[in-house]
Symmetry: C2
Subunit: 278 residues, 2 copies
C-alpha cells in the first residue's frame, strides 16, 4: 500500500475541543494558537452559555479556522415525537454552526437498540432531508460520519463508508457529505473502493484521526493518539489524498488515559504524533 509523505508543518492540524477535555473553549483556543495549530472543531458542549457568533470571532481572532461543529445527528427513535425533537435539535446545531462560522456540522446519525438498522437508516435520511432547507439557506454542510460497527446498537446505523455513500446518494444534495474517521473505518476491506466513490461525488468533507489500541479497554473512551495503535495512518491518508482530499486533519481522541493527564501535555504529544505518525 502507498504511504503518504510525513506532514511537515501544522497548516492542516485541527483539534477537537473534546480531545483536550479539561480546557474551556477560550483556553483551548489560546493554547492551540500558541502551539501553532490551525483549526478547531468545536463540540456543542463548548458553546453552552456562550454566544456562538462571538465564539467564532474569538477563534478567528486567535488565528484559527473553525473547521466544524460537532455534533448533530441521533435522528432515529421509536416515537415520531422524539424524531421531530431530533430534527429541531439538528436545526439548532445548523443555526449555531452558521453563527459560529463553521462550514460544517458532523452527524453521528443514531440508532435504536432493537429497531432494524434498515428502518433506522430510513429515519436518518428522512431526518437529514428535513433539515436541508435550513442548511441551504445558511450554507452549512452536513457530514454523515460512518461509525464503527461496535456502535451499531445505539449510536449509528451507518457503519461503513459504503452505507454512508448510499445515504448520500439517497439524499443527493451537494451540502450532504461524509466525515471520514480512521477509527471507524480502518478495518474495512472496501475502503479504497468506497473512498474513490465518495471522492468522485466530492463528498469527503472531513478527515478525523486517532488510533486503535490493542487491547482496547473501553468501547468509547480508549482511543489512542496517532502512533499508539495499529491503524495504518499514512496508508489511509494516501488513499484519501490520492482521491483529492486536501482539508484539515482533525485530531479527535476520546481517552480516559489521556484525559487523566494535563491537557498541555497531550497537546505537545499531539504535535509530535502528528509529525511522526500521521
Amino acid at each position: 500500500m502507498t504511504k503518504a509523505a510525513p506532514l511537515s508543518d501544522f497548516s492542516r492540524l485541527c483539534i477537537h475541543t473534546i480531545t483536550t477535555k479539561g480546557w474551556e473553549l477560550e483556553e483551548a483556543v489560546d493554547r492551540y494558537a500558541e502551539a501553532g495549530v490551525s483549526g478547531v472543531t468545536v463540540w456543542r458542549q463548548w458553546l453552552e452559555g456562550r454566544n456562538p457568533s462571538e465564539s467564532g470571532d474569538r477563534i478567528r481572532a486567535a488565528g484559527l479556522e473553525v473547521t466544524s461543529l460537532c455534533r448533530g445527528g441521533f435522528y432515529p427513535a421509536l416515537e415520531e415525537k422524539s424524531r421531530k425533537e431530533a430534527i429541531e435539535d439538528n436545526k439548532r446545531a445548523i443555526e449555531d454552526a452558521a453563527a459560529l462560522g463553521a462550514p460544517l456540522v458532523v452527524l453521528v446519525c443514531g440508532a435504536v437498540p432493537g429497531q432494524s438498522l434498515t428502518e433506522s437508516r430510513k429515519q436518518i435520511t428522512d431526518g437529514i432531508a428535513a433539515t436541508l432547507p435550513l442548511a441551504e439557506s445558511l450554507a452549512v454542510k452536513l457530514a454523515i460520519e460512518p461509525l464503527h460497527p461496535m456502535y451499531a446498537d445505539d449510536r449509528s446505523a451507518i457503519n461503513t463508508l459504503a452505507s454512508a455513500n448510499d445515504a448520500c446518494d439517497a439524499l443527493n444534495h451537494p451540502l450532504v457529505g461524509i466525515a471520514f474517521d480512521v477509527y471507524h473505518l480502518w478495518w474495512d476491506p472496501d475502503l479504497e473502493e468506497q473512498t474513490k466513490r465518495a471522492a468522485q461525488a466530492e463528498r469527503i468533507f472531513a478527515y478525523h484521526v486517532c488510533d486503535w489500541m490493542t487491547p482496547t479497554g473501553d468501547l468509547l473512551n480508549d482511543r489512542g493518539l496517532m502512533g499508539e495503535g495499529c491503524i495504518d495512518l499514512r496508508g489511509i491518508r494516501a488513499i484519501v489524498e490520492e482521491n483529492g482530499f486536501r482539508g484539515m486533519i482533525e485530531v479527535e481522541v476520546f481517552s480516559d488515559r489521556w484525559w487523566d493527564r494535563p491537557p498541555g501535555e497531550l497537546l505537545e504529544a499531539i504535535k509530535e504524533a502528528y509529525l511522526q505518525h500521521t
Copy 2:
C-alpha cells in the same frame, strides 16, 4: 424482515463448553444431557489432559452429538517460524477433532497489530491451505468464523461475511466453509446478499448465537444471552434458514456476568432464551 418461527424443542440446541465455563467436560456433558440439549461444541481447553477419542465416546454415550471443536486459527504472524508453528498447531486441532469425532474445526483466523489486513488475509488462506491435505485425509471440515470488526487488530483479519466468502472462494475446497456467528455479523448491511452467496456455495457449516448488550462493558466478555440484547435473532435465523441451513444452533456466550453465577442457572436460562428469543 421475515422472522423465523419459534423453536419448539431442543433437537437443534448445542452449547459451547466455554459458555458454562465452571464445568469440566464430563460435568458439562452430563448436565447438558439431563437438560435435553442435543449437541456440544468442545473448546480445546476442555480436552487438556484427556484422550479426545475417549471424550468423544463419553459425549456420544450421554446421547449428545459432537458439533465441532473450537478453535483453530491464528495463522498470521510477523515471523515465518511463528506461522509454521501455527500451522502445526492447527494440524493438532484437526487430529483432535478427528479423534473426538467432531466433523468440524472452527477457525478464529488471527491478525497482527500493525500488519496490513490484506497481508494477514493472505497468511490466513496460506495457513489453511497448508492444513488441507491432513483435513482431507481425516475428513474434517474447517469453518472460517468472520469476527466483528472490533477484533480486526489482533484476532481476525476476516471481519465480514463477504471477506469470509472471498477467503473460501480463494481456497475453493469443499471442506472449507464458514461459521456464522450473529454476534459478529448482525450489523452488516450486506448480510442477506452474502448469506445467499455462502449458501449457494454450500459453505454455511455452523451457526452461533448469543446477543449484543447495550451498553457493552467489555469487548470480549460481555455478550448477552439471547433476548438480552438488540440482535434480531429470528430475523437472522430466517435468512440462514431460507437459504437452507438446518444445522445446530450453538449457544456461545462469553460473559463475566453469567460466569459469576452457577452454571446450572445459566443452563436453565439458556433453555428458556432458546425457546423464547432464538
